[in-house]
Symmetry: C3
Subunit: 212 residues, 3 copies
């Protein structure tokens, strides 16, 4: 698999922008959950941070890439604090949040994180099974940590077609790369698949089966 | 302490087989808990993975040996998915699970994980107190993570003679090594002690004391 | 920033004593929570360990400094076991614990951990934002892990002026260092600020605002 230096730099920039945009969306959602759960100002900041950066931090620790990328760059934590401020503003102004717009932004964040997480794991040389799981972990790990801190069973384990869309996008990305597509094209196909599957799940009220 | 190359290779093979067998037993038990808690298909897969591999992953991260061994080898996550499939089959077929047989397999998994975890920690050069704690962590960490994901106080902290058997086995293994026994013999003594203590605890309904 | 060898050794000794003293106080408090929650003897030992060492362990793993310092030195886990024994003795003897004395010791532990955590993070070369967050994590991470194990929303996220005092102390320490004060003086100023803020919060019943 060949990859020119400029393509590699372009890919690095796409991953950075994806990370920042996904972080902002997930931090706003995390802060809104914390406000809803009655946490205080510090709790809102911590949940915004954990919900948006927790998945990538877990991935980096498991990859052996500590300190995590999002803690080496002060823009990430400061971005989550800004998102928490926006969420507090929205809550205080009683702005009605349009459900579908929020779900669309969330699906975009899910796809961006799944792609960035899978890319980074492959770049660290882990096997394909682990890279796909780390793509999913990057996308849903923050939300799981948020739910654990709120003393709830993580929503992704019991409802909705959510983590499954992230895992499918990660697997499709890896298959596309193995089939010889250029990395950037494989990332776009994987991310678009994750986004499309998640939106189909939202609009079609998909649920995974339960047993018994 | 001397150890020939072939003995060392034999020990490595025993540790690998112990890890795979323990993983399978703990993954089936984890999947059954997830089915019982009403999680969906993805939740069952995640809990089977976490319950069986979570202890070893925590140990490897704490040892500074990331990426964890079980994520470098795709057989481990695939094995937990197979175990989840078996558990789903058992649940759908309403196969009555014989309690004592399950407790015996679980005690074997506990002993295997405690031995493998203590061995690996000693091989990484940590002190004896930490190696014994990491042996216990390897054996019960996955079950604790499973309980946290199910929003419950980990069972090992409040009931049964379970983690204590793992800790005792780890301590006995270390004392046997320090007394000059060959590593393989020390491992067998430690593992057999853990298994015997756990089974005595099951049959005798042992409980650790509470305070007040 | 210059720092003579003897000053550096003195700073190292201050950090060690601070760590040991803070560990003992937090372990006693953790063990008392576990006794109150009805955990068994092993659960009391585990919660004493996690409540006192969990914050520093999380910091070291995130810094990429595994195995964590507190696990390389067997005195730390043994100290938490001693603290658990003291807590059990206090509970069995029904010794009435003076609330203000306990709150004062806890505030001292908070300040000591926040200072030690910020110092260590700066020494590892992380940026100032992350160092301040890691100072707070060192101080409150163990208590958060204790609450998660007890299946509760961490108290620091919803009540009291506690984590905020640790964060403020860490920020003040970093500003004092940047302003050119000698490291030891900066540490004393940061720690004293954390302690004073926490005690003011206790005596004045400070709460952070909630939203909506």
């Amino acid at each position: 698999m060949q990859c020119s230096a400029s393509e590699s730099a372009g890919l690095a920039r796409v991953v950075l922008v994806a990370d920042l945009a996904g972080t902002f969306v997930f931090a706003i959602e995390g802060a809104l959950s914390a406000i809803h759960a009655g946490l205080d100002l510090l709790g809102i900041l911590v949940i915004a941070f954990v919900a948006s950066l927790g998945g990538g931090i877990a991935r980096d620790v498991l990859l052996g890439a500590a300190p995590p990328a999002s803690l080496r760059d002060p823009r990430y934590p400061l971005l989550t604090a800004m998102a928490a401020a926006v969420a507090i503003g929205l809550a205080l102004a009683h702005v009605p949040l349009p459900g579908l717009a929020l779900a669309t932004l969330d699906a975009a964040g899910l796809a961006l994180f799944a792609v960035a997480g899978t890319e980074k794991s492959l770049a660290h040389g882990v096997n394909a099974v682990t890279a796909a799981m780390f793509g999913m972990l990057t996308a849903v790990g923050g939300g799981m940590a948020r739910d654990i801190l709120l003393a709830q069973v993580p929503a992704v384990l019991r409802a909705d077609f959510y983590a499954t869309a992230a895992l499918a996008g990660a697997i499709i990305l890896i298959i596309a790369q193995r089939a010889g597509l250029p990395p950037r094209v494989a990332s776009i196909i994987g991310g678009a698949s994750c986004f499309a599957l998640r939106m189909a799940g939202v609009l079609g009220h998909w649920q995974l089966p339960r047993v018994g």
